[in-house]
């Protein structure tokens, strides 16, 4: 069901990721201000964009679950949010490494971009205890979907609020001022975003396939046990 088209997707994810890494280190020029350390940008920013996109996608899938009542949408939403949290961990770690190298600090509490991302990340960390504290599968799926929709709506609002805030240290990447990338850097950046999105979709499909197989196995075991007892 979920494994359809997995092989070409995984192959393209690996190929585009290798291309992206090659472009980062051999094609994109060194940034004049930050030098070699700016190479973290090509990893950190696409990861952040894809993670935030994943949170929003999780919310959209939760809407589809509530509209249709189809539990598979809840499973898709859960895996999407789960993967986004993993990428979010990567964003926080790579961001701290970059901050330490660039600003001399691991973390700046007065920087809106950093703190807002942490707020979003911590908000989604609540998703797990909420989901797994409910035993009834129907209620679990419904409550999780409501949370995913509310939190998913918070992500773009939060992003817009931060964009409107006065910039402190963190640069704005996709803006007319401050973040306008030269052509070769922009191309590398776009390839990196595509690679990250492909990695995300591939892992999403992989986890969904594993979860689906596990659920089918559980059903099969229950049926066999019922047959054996009669």
């Amino acid at each position: 069901m979920y494994s359809k088209g997995f092989k070409p997707l995984a192959a393209s994810a690996v190929a585009v990721t290798l291309l992206a890494f090659a472009m980062v280190f051999f094609y994109a020029p060194l940034e004049t201000d930050q030098g070699f350390i700016q190479k973290i940008f090509y990893l950190h920013v696409p990861m952040a964009i894809v993670a935030l996109g994943g949170f929003v996608a999780g919310g959209i899938m939760a809407i589809l679950h509530l509209r249709s009542g189809d539990r598979s949408w809840d499973m898709r939403s859960y895996v999407c949010i789960h993967l986004s949290i993993i990428l979010g961990t990567g964003v926080l770690l790579t961001g701290s490494i970059w901050a330490r190298a660039s600003w001399g600090h691991w973390w700046l509490w007065d920087e809106p971009v950093l703190v807002s991302f942490l707020v979003v990340f911590l908000l989604y960390c609540v998703y797990y205890p909420l989901r797994f504290s409910i035993e009834d599968p129907e209620r679990q799926a419904r409550y999780s979907s409501v949370f995913a929709i509310a939190a998913g709506a918070f992500v773009p609002i939060n992003f817009a609020a931060v964009r409107m805030a006065q910039a402190f240290t963190h640069p704005r990447v996709l803006s007319e001022t401050g973040g306008a990338l030269p052509g070769d850097m922009r191309l590398t950046f776009v390839v990196c975003i595509v690679a990250m999105a492909l990695i995300f979709v591939t892992l999403w499909k992989l986890e969904l396939t594993a979860k689906h197989a596990s659920m089918q196995l559980k059903r099969l075991r229950t049926r066999l046990e019922a047959t054996a007892s009669t």
Binding site: D33, G35, F36, I37, G90, T94, R100, S214
Partner: protein, 86 residues
């Protein structure tokens, strides 16, 4: 701040990329463990069904004409259904 020299910046860049690769590797390893657990459970279920089927097959009567197919093991019941009518 001025740009860091390459030898110092290289360590930070390498650390960031290693963090990313480790995250992906750990994730794939966890999924791999899940898949191997599913595979093991499928094997257990297969063994259970075969154990369940063999006494029934003895009750029905195992046909001596039934042979294993080249594709793999064939259960006696299924093979019996496919055997030519006598």
């Amino acid at each position: 701040m001025p740009a860091l020299p390459l030898d110092e910046a290289g360590k930070y860049v390498a650390a960031a990329y290693v963090v990313f690769l480790l995250l992906i590797l750990v994730y794939v390893a966890i999924i791999g463990m899940k898949v191997s657990r599913i595979e093991r459970e499928v094997g257990e279920l297969l063994e259970l069904t075969e154990e369940d089927e063999s006494p029934r097959a003895r009750e029905v009567g195992h046909s001596p004409t039934v042979q294993e197919s080249p594709e793999g093991e064939q259960s006696p019941q299924r093979a019996g259904l496919e055997a030519p009518p006598r």
